[in-house]
């Protein structure tokens, strides 16, 4: 695993030197998950495509600014999610995906082999609105303002929903 991370660091250093092949290698590694992860936060496939493109253009230009602190994927995600929010700010069309509230059967749980702890259950019991806010603020690490743009709701609503979600999860875990 560490070897791979070093590989990313080396690729990024080569990109900073203007190595186009290194950029392509980096794209092969990181564009697919970025595309999927952005698609879960924006229902407009054309927009997601543009954001992926923007992100790697920014990587090409800003590779020299990567200081080797933190993992490369997290750095790329930070650029990507902020580019998406930038685009949404410019065209505030209601492109935010409605969180599918799928209920999974016990067989699904077994088949998919994902362990569900207390935390997962608590998160799963939240309403889709509260879960979306938790995902944006806690898991994606966005500011209140960025989360508001991404979800297409006022900043005040983000704050009240985040507070309510925290309260509900505390109750569920107690």
């Amino acid at each position: 695993m560490t070897v791979r991370a070093d590989g990313d660091d080396m690729l990024l250093r080569a990109v900073a030197q203007g190595d186009r092949a290194a950029l392509e290698a980096l794209y092969r590694q990181h564009a697919p998950w970025l595309l999927v992860r952005l698609s879960r936060r924006c229902s407009d496939p054309g927009l997601v495509e543009e954001v992926v493109q923007d992100t790697f253009v920014a990587v090409w230009r800003g590779a020299g600014r990567y200081r080797g602190t933190g993992e490369v994927p997290a750095w790329i995600w930070g650029i990507g999610i902020r580019r998406l929010i930038d685009r949404l700010r410019r065209s505030p069309a209601p492109v935010v995906r409605q969180a599918p509230d799928t209920v999974l059967s016990a067989e699904d749980h077994v088949l998919l082999g994902v362990e569900h702890g207390d935390l997962g259950d608590a998160l799963g019991r939240l309403s889709p609105e509260l879960r979306a806010v938790m995902q944006a603020t806690v898991l994606d690490g966005l500011t209140t303002r960025e989360a508001a743009t991404l979800l297409g709701i006022p900043q005040g609503t983000v704050k009240t929903r985040a507070a309510r979600a925290r309260r509900e999860m505390r109750g569920a875990l107690a």
Binding site: M1, T2, R4, A5, D8, R20, L23, E24, Y27, R28, Q29, H30, A31, P32, W33, L35, V36, R37, S39, R40, P45, V48, E49, E50, V52, Q53, F56, V57, W60, R61, E71, P73, A74, W77, R90, R97, A99, P100, T102, L104, L111, L112, G113, V114, H116, G120, L123, G124, P128, R131, A132, Q135, L139
Partner: protein, 277 residues
Amino acid sequence: MTTWHAEPAALAAYADGALDDVRASSLEAHLMSCSACRTALASAVPAAPLLRAWRGVTIATVAPRPGLVERVLLRAGVRDDVARLLAATPSLRVSWLLAEALALGFAAFAANVAPGAGADAALFLFLVIAALAPVAGVAAAFGPGLDPTYEVGIAAPMRSERLLLVRSLAVLATSLVIAGLAAITLPGFDRAAIAWLLPALGLCLTTITLATWIRPLVAAIVVAMTWLAVAASVTAARSDPVAAFRSGGQLLAVALIVISALVLSRRRVVYEGGVAA
């Protein structure tokens, strides 16, 4: 580090957007630190959008980086093709705008400190410069010789008249803002301080209209010289520094605006083949 890996079924569901939020979040956190699962996920992601985006990345990284003016315009939400055209305008360069601000600032400064007749002369000078600045700006905004993108523009599959209008408007707007700011500093700020506005518009449009027959630079010189001669003689005859900018002059300016607009709408076709060289 971690020995846990996502099941192929979970990865496929995630790529399809079918995985529930809780497990998607958990998977996303794992993907950040596991290149094996990232590689496994990649095979489930459709290739077409990735290929299109990569093509875009290639084009954007081969093209030279836009300059400061262009980046500011893009940030302000201007379309990229318009931003490129505006950024290439000679009379929108910082040096040009600085020269205009200096000339107007000097005249306004002189009007403030010069005694008696000197102040009148300075006010006259200020009004003349403010009225002619957009004319000079438009003269340098397009046409052979001054515009580095002139030949490219002629060959481009775009209406030259649009380029002319976009650039003229940008030049006019920046000129008016600079002159307006300078006018605030004039002594006894009153109607005289903005008396240059209509003449500036009239002279500017006349220049654009004439440029359909002759070179923009020549057109600008003809307009500027004619207007200077008229303004100077009227001022001398009435011994009034703003004589050329009173109601007679303003009416003439309005007439120029109307006539130029009419002629320009009929002469548009000339711009299709480039301006007179």
